[in-house]
Amino acid sequence: MGGDKTKIILSITPPLLIIILLFYGGIFYGLVQSLGYQPAIGKYEINLDAYYNILFSERYAKLFWTGLALNLWVSFVSTFLAAVLALFAALAIRKTFFGKTVCNFIYSLNLPMPHLVVAVGIIFVFSQSGLLARMLAQLNIIASPGDFPVLVKDKYGVGIILAYIWKESAFFFIILMSVLQSLGENFEELAQSLGANRWQRFRYVILPLVMPSLFSASIIVFAFSFGAYEVPALLGVIYPQMLPVMAFEFFLNPDLNARSEGMALSIIIALIVMILVIFYFWLTQTRIRKD
């Protein structure tokens, strides 16, 4: 048994050490700096000034709270729409038809696509002189680029939402396809033979069966879109600004005092994501107990 124990410890330590040193070490160092401890510029005091400045000061509070609102709006809307669209696509594509394999490939195409490229693609398609505007111009629906609505680099985060929908719907799609495949159509046929109509089969048979996977995929997507940098950096505006971009800009600020605020902001982002994940686990646990 003693041999096993040594083996376990020796095997687990290397990857665990990497995560603990780099990941938790990075978070810990960020936390320490967010509390004002910055030996590089001669600051050794521990205080909550950076957090206070971000949350309540006249200078940053408005920036932070509008940014948080934008973050929640973008993450909720894009996660919800991507999940709903993928659900419809997965349900529609199950039956055999001409070109099914190609459609399946196209619907999964954005899965391995880097977020950065998806963001660039959204600019190419949805900007005021993009592909979509040109198509509408050919159809004589709009005359000049100015007639096309501002969908990219807009203050409501529409471009960011579009990019996340593009990218994450493929993720939802793959997960739903495999769940639906493993379920087969027996339940639906049974419900149909008992007289359930199309809507009832969807609402009372399919939805409850795919909901658990849909929900856990949503958590991954939500957490990602809440903390990711590339997409809002390319498709966002200066005000309101999503929190990860704001944190990064604070951090790059030549004024080293702003560093603490950048660190504090990144800690706040991590905290919010953590709370959401814990809430999710609590929710699923209580639901399992009820069932």
């Binding site: 376990i8 095997s11 687990i12 290397p14 990857p15 665990l16 990497i18 995560i19 603990i20 780099l22 990941f23 938790y24 990075g26 160092y29 960020g30 590089a40 696509a89 529609a92 001409f98 196209i106 999964s108 195409l109 899965l111 696509m113 880097p114 977020h115 950065l116 490229v117 998806v118 660039v120 693609g121 190419f124 398609v125 993009g130 592909l131 979509l132 040109r134 050919q138 680029p145 793959i174 997960i175 739903l176 495999s178 769940v179 493993s182 996977s213 995929a217 991954i220 997507v221 957490a223 990602f224 903390g227 940098y229 390319l234 990064f248 660190m263 990144s266 991590a270 994501v273 953590m274």
Partner: protein
């Protein structure tokens, strides 16, 4: 009515596929037409100018094998970034698999104290955003001298990749029967031979998927490379980002096409393996 509904169903799938593929179409039009002015839908002429300006294709009249080799020998930025991206991706993938294999085996086959805690610690980087750790880590890396080095960038790429490789391989070992190894050993095979002939073939399919997606996570990494690379390590995502921000659509599109090529290739080869139930898929949420 059912026939009509079916038709609507199929046409909406086609429409959805068309909309989804619009960005890809736009990439190709932009990359092969240098002056694509509004409101042209189809460019008036095809042009290789973006590729010539990126020094990937020689000027007209020079497009022989020798011309290509001479041009690439001048080490253009895109080639440099491509080589950096590939090297970092390969190194990180191989290192992460070597480190993760023994751990995954133990996690998949044994039960022991603190196992749940260890898995929780290991998995947390898949949910928490990179910005949470990289700002703090950056300052540490500067003082350690890792900042701006190839080594530092590889090290930081291990953070998003490691949990995911460990998880995927753990899933494989959970369904793996080690008895075959004992049999091979009693029949006289040494440790290396046992691994090579028994263990490896059994875990190979899962390992390939884990490796491909580990590579893809590293390949797509922007923020970590930018911060830890400190402007000294140029990779493809950094190049796409800076070109896109400076706003030349033709150049951006051309670099993007190079950038997405391996991604599409990997999807093509793994579509068989990819299913929502394997932990491999959840890794995609990170790319």
């Amino acid at each position: 009515m059912n026939q009509n509904l079916k038709k609507i169903n199929i046409y909406s799938i086609y429409l959805g596929a068309f909309i989804l593929i619009l960005p890809i179409i736009a990439f190709f039009i932009n990359a092969f037409s240098f002056r694509w002015f509004y409101p042209q839908l189809i460019p008036k002429e095809l042009s290789m100018q973006a590729w010539v300006r990126l020094k990937l294709i020689p000027r007209q009249g020079n497009r022989t094998l020798e011309g290509f080799l001479d041009l690439w020998a001048t080490n253009p930025t895109v080639i440099k970034a491509l080589i950096n991206s590939l090297t970092i991706g390969f190194v990180v993938t191989i290192v992460s698999i070597i480190i993760a294999l023994p751990a995954a085996r133990v996690l998949g086959l044994f039960n022991f104290k603190f196992k749940k805690l260890i898995i929780f610690l290991m998995v947390s980087p898949t949910i928490l955003p990179p910005i949470a750790f990289v700002l703090g880590l950056n300052i540490n890396f500067i003082s350690l001298g890792f900042s701006g080095s190839f080594f530092g960038v590889c090290l930081v790429h291990l953070v998003p990749i490691m949990p995911y490789v460990v998880l995927t391989l753990t899933g494989i070992f959970a369904n793996y029967n080690p008895d075959f190894e004992y049999q091979a050993r009693t029949l006289g095979a040494n440790k290396f031979k046992t691994f090579y002939l028994i263990t490896l073939p059994a875990i190979a399919p899962g390992m390939v998927v884990a490796a491909l997606f580990a590579f893809l996570v590293s390949w797509s990494q922007y923020l970590l490379t930018f911060l830890i690379g400190a402007g000294k390590i140029m990779t493809l995502p950094l190049l796409v980002f800076s070109t896109a921000s400076s706003g030349n659509p033709a150049l951006t599109a051309a670099i993007s096409i190079i950038f997405i090529f391996p991604a599409i290739l990997i999807l093509f080869f793994t579509s068989k393996f990819v299913s929502g139930e394997s932990s491999a898929t959840s890794g995609f949420g990170k790319i």
